[in-house]
């Protein structure tokens, strides 16, 4: 049961320190923010640490210390797990120095000790869990370094700690929030497959994003990933794309089958999304967290802009992404042409020019909302006719059609305000048309 990982009645820290410079001190400081339960620091030299009662040994811990966070040297860990039997149900092993440095037998010992003690293990060599809604943070990342994302609906799994830290920063900068994040390290026990099972059932998580370097059992990984992808969107960023055909020069197939190509192809076989790089990973994560993807959402997109060049950029990117920048239906073209000044670009992209006003957007969308599957709205704020009313128009479009809508606006004061308002209204905003297009594609996929 992974519940003890996320909602433990109490957390003990084996290797707690008094010093905020040591890992054991940083982790303790992070843990002290945990709301729903008590923290039990364990250190043989102290009766009190950072203002709360400390325990000299594991023996003296009460049973409510259900989650153990362990940050002692690697060789001590198997013994610690044995001692925790009966006290803890789950352990996050922060300690490094196991299979990642070749000490596979030591990692095996950890696995065995945990099994005998009936304790589920995350790690070793991991940062554990960040669950902002519950104020749970088992990591050794100091507060604000990096800034953490707010609470939201994106579930994150990562095989790398440093990438997890980058994901925090990027999601925070994009104003996207996380439900729970798990850095699973060496995956001696709990692996990404089990986390996928958990997230599939977790009502707080709408989309799961996953940074992966390698998978142990490919078939098991795919089975769990495919099962999750049937419930909610799963987006994978796979690192380690270096081409490496299998050594055997005997067959063409053997020469052609690089491990990344096989992995990527099989993800497609099971309809699991894959991001080409980190930026697209984050942009898509944000988009999917704002708007539910539509199964068979269609490919026709309307680009509505007041900057002709931006419209072209959006159009180019749309075609590159396989979206259909379909022309305006014939029967509506004449009506639209006659309702706007002659210098407006009536078509797709629809260009309201520098003379654009909020009502223009409203009128075009009222006319065309049923003819397209997704909308890219570009409202540059360098023109005076654009105001915050645009956001209300976008909100109505979303509410009225339920179709995906993405927004691009200026970076000035008004633009920043509109961006914030748009996102509060559930419309993700991007600084450049191309990114907005790719985000829309990830929702329509």
């Amino acid at each position: 049961m992974l519940e003890f990982l996320f909602n433990p009645p109490g957390v003990c820290l084996i290797g707690a320190s008094h010093s905020p410079e040591k890992l054991g001190g940083i982790i303790l400081k992070n843990l002290l923010r945990y709301g729903p339960g008590r923290i039990y620091p364990v250190n043989p030299h102290y009766d009190e640490l950072m203002g709360i009662k400390a325990y000299r040994d594991i023996k003296s811990l009460p049973e409510t210390a259900a989650l153990a966070v362990i940050v002692r040297p690697a060789p001590e860990v198997p013994g610690i797990l044995s001692e925790l039997a009966g006290k803890s149900k789950c352990a996050v092993i922060i300690s490094a120095g196991f299979s990642e440095v070749g000490r596979t037998e030591l990692q095996e010992e950890v696995r065995r000790a945990a099994k005998e003690a009936a304790i589920r293990v995350l790690g070793p060599n991991c940062m554990g869990v960040y669950y902002p809604a519950n104020k749970l943070d088992t990591s050794f990342l100091p507060e604000g370094r990096p800034v953490r994302p707010r609470s939201g609906n994106i579930g994150v799994t990562s095989q790398s700690g440093s990438v997890m830290a980058s994901i925090y920063e990027a999601l925070e900068a994009s104003d996207a929030g996380v439900s729970k994040t798990v850095h699973y390290g060496n995956a001696a026990d709990i692996d990404e497959g089990e986390l996928y099972e958990y997230f599939a059932r977790d009502p707080e998580t709408r989309v799961v994003v996953s940074y992966i370097e390698s998978v142990g059992d490919g078939r098991r990984f795919i089975e769990k990933a495919a099962m999750l992808a049937r419930e909610k969107p799963l987006l994978v960023l796979k690192a380690g794309k270096g081409s490496s055909g299998v050594k055997a020069a005997f067959s063409h197939t053997g020469r052609l089958a690089g491990s990344y190509e096989v992995f990527s192809s099989i993800l497609k076989q099971f309809h699991i999304r894959e991001a080409a790089n980190f930026e697209r990973f984050i942009d898509a994560a944000k988009a999917l967290s704002y708007q539910e993807p539509k199964k068979r959402g269609g490919r026709k997109v309307l680009i509505l802009t007041n900057g002709g060049g931006d419209g072209v950029l959006a159009s180019d990117e749309s075609m590159k992404e396989g979206l259909d920048v379909a022309g305006i239906p014939e029967n509506k073209y004449l009506r639209l042409k006659s309702s706007f000044p002659p210098y407006y670009g009536v078509g797709n992209p629809f260009d309201c020019t520098a003379e654009s006003k909020d009502e223009d957007y409203e009128n075009v969308l009222r006319e065309l909302k049923d003819d397209y599957d997704g909308f890219i709205i570009i409202a540059l704020t360098v023109v005076s006719g654009i105001s915050e009313r645009i956001v209300g128009i976008l909100k109505n479009l979303r509410k009225g059609t339920g179709k995906p809508v993405v927004f691009v606006t200026g970076k000035d004061e008004i633009g920043q305000k509109m961006e914030k308002m748009a996102e509060e209204a559930g419309v993700p905003s991007y600084p450049m048309p191309e990114r907005a297009v790719r985000a829309l594609k990830s929702i329509l996929e």
Partner: protein, 227 residues
């Protein structure tokens, strides 16, 4: 599915203890599983008129050897043979190639669309089937897709539609569409073979796809042997 698996296991038993099978042995194997192969005869010396009488000319002669992974690279192929003396001259030449155990003399197949179907044991995913466009040029074009093996016919069809050059299969520049069902059947058979876990690698390159049917023009197989 179990029936085909049983049959494959029987056929593998029948290959003795050889690791690398010769082209005609692999073709015989695939023929037993329902795939089309060119009519031909395997000889270890000059052929008689009777042996090649029923074969439609022109013929192609290919050296059979376990040593080389590409016959054309070592000049082990002679095509456009129309008379018995031409065939026997070719056989004489080819038998001189180091490691040649014999010569496969076949009807030359008409050209249409070359595809490749292969199976390997991937370290991450186990048995995996590959489909690609390009035949001879597949390594340059790399228009290939992979799927877990064994694969069902509907999934094989979906796999086929994922390649970049799908328009070639659907028929362009006045050419009729290729028989995608026949290709899918071949993918299923190869996936079943690699799916048994008894085979290390298998390749059909090329499978020539026509508007009706598909034919195995060349094939390789390496059986898993203990030790």
């Amino acid at each position: 599915m179990g029936e085909m698996e049983e049959k494959i296991k029987e056929l593998i038993k029948g290959t003795g203890d050889k690791e690398v099978l010769l082209e005609h042995e692999v073709k015989g194997f695939l023929k037993e599983l329902g795939l089309s192969v060119p009519c031909g005869v395997f000889v270890t010396g000059p052929c008689s008129a009777l042996q090649i009488k029923h074969l439609k000319k022109p013929l192609i002669a290919k050296a059979a050897s376990r040593l080389y992974s590409s016959k054309s690279d070592i000049g082990g192929v002679r095509g456009d043979l129309r008379t018995r003396s031409e065939v026997n001259a070719a056989i004489k030449d080819l038998m001189e190639i180091r490691g040649a155990e014999g010569v496969l003399v076949e009807e030359m197949a008409a050209g249409r669309l070359e595809v490749i179907i292969g199976g390997i044991i991937d370290p991450q995913f186990g048995p995996v089937v590959m489909f690609g466009l390009g035949g001879f040029f597949v390594e340059a074009m790399r228009d290939i897709v992979f799927g877990l093996a064994p694969i069902a016919k509907e999934d094989a069809l979906e796999l086929i539609h994922r390649i970049k050059g799908i328009s070639l299969l659907k028929g362009i520049r006045g050419k009729p569409p290729a028989d995608v069902e026949a290709i899918a059947r071949a993918i299923v058979v190869i996936s079943e073979i690699i799916g048994t876990g008894l085979v290390e690698e298998i390749d059909i390159n090329p499978l020539m796809a026509y508007s009706e049917g598909a034919m195995v023009l060349d094939a390789k197989m390496r059986v898993k042997r203990p030790g």
